[in-house]
């Protein structure tokens, strides 16, 4: 099981701040994960409609969509940052 955490409008659209998910073995990269999540229901499809804008952190570190997710205990999905 892997912990997924969501923020800002990704969190609002998916409808929960976090969850534990079993990730299938054919899901290798961040990009694979985003495509996989979109199959889990309308709320995911809505949140991840434009996957290229979604920012992803593995174990609280920014990664590219090409990165492998193997070994990640916590995966964060969120929109581009707007702090500061």
């Amino acid at each position: 099981m892997t912990k997924l955490v969501y923020f800002a409008w990704v969190r609002e659209r998916i409808g929960k701040p976090e969850e534990e998910l079993e990730i299938p073995p054919n899901v290798v990269t961040v990009r694979d994960l985003l495509n996989h999540l979109k199959t889990l229901g309308e709320e995911y499809e809505n949140a991840l409609q434009y996957p290229e804008v979604i920012r992803v952190a593995l174990n609280q570190e920014h990664v590219e969509h090409s990165e492998a997710i193997a070994g990640a205990r916590e995966i964060g999905l969120f929109p581009p940052m707007t702090g500061g």
């Binding site: 923020f7 570190e61 500061g84």
Partner: protein
């Protein structure tokens, strides 16, 4: 020569005290010639905005601020760096973020604070939601292309 130190990295709901934070950086030191502070405040967008709601990724926000700060300390040979970011509801006129950079000379202090703000804007996991004065949620603030471009000056 005292060590270059990131003196303070904090994510908090409460406001900060500029004077106290500067004093914490400079107290007892005689090698600091320049201190530059940046305070980011909530604007009311010509009266349209009643508040900002700041969301953050706990743990990662601090880690990312510390990572950016470490790069700045090394790159500009800073003698001290403070970065404090608030979260939760913030009213117009209130502080959102504080960055302070201390250095022997002025340009390093200016560059250090400016660099940290540019990267904090696009890399630290914070998100702003607007609340309009008419009671509606104005929605999530969109990331600005200008913020990404602002980083280009540091290449």
């Amino acid at each position: 020569m005292p060590e270059a130190v990131i003196s303070t990295i904090r994510v908090q709901t409460e406001d900060f005290e500029l004077q106290a934070e500067v004093a914490a950086l400079t107290a007892g030191r005689h090698d600091i010639g320049a201190v530059v502070s940046f305070s980011g405040l909530c604007r009311d967008e010509q009266g349209a905005l009643s508040a900002l709601e700041l969301e953050h990724y706990p743990g990662m926000a601090e880690a990312e601020m510390r990572r950016i700060g470490g790069i700045a300390v090394e790159r500009f040979s800073l003698l001290g760096l403070t970065a404090i970011h608030r979260y939760g509801k913030i009213l117009p006129g209130e502080n959102i973020v504080l960055v302070i950079a201390a250095a022997p000379h002025r340009q390093a202090a200016f560059d250090g604070a400016n660099f940290v703000m540019d990267f904090l804007k696009t890399s630290a996991p914070f998100w702003k939601k607007e609340h309009a004065v008419d009671g509606t949620e104005g929605g999530w603030v969109s990331a600005k292309d200008a913020d990404g471009e602002a980083q280009d000056k540091w290449r």
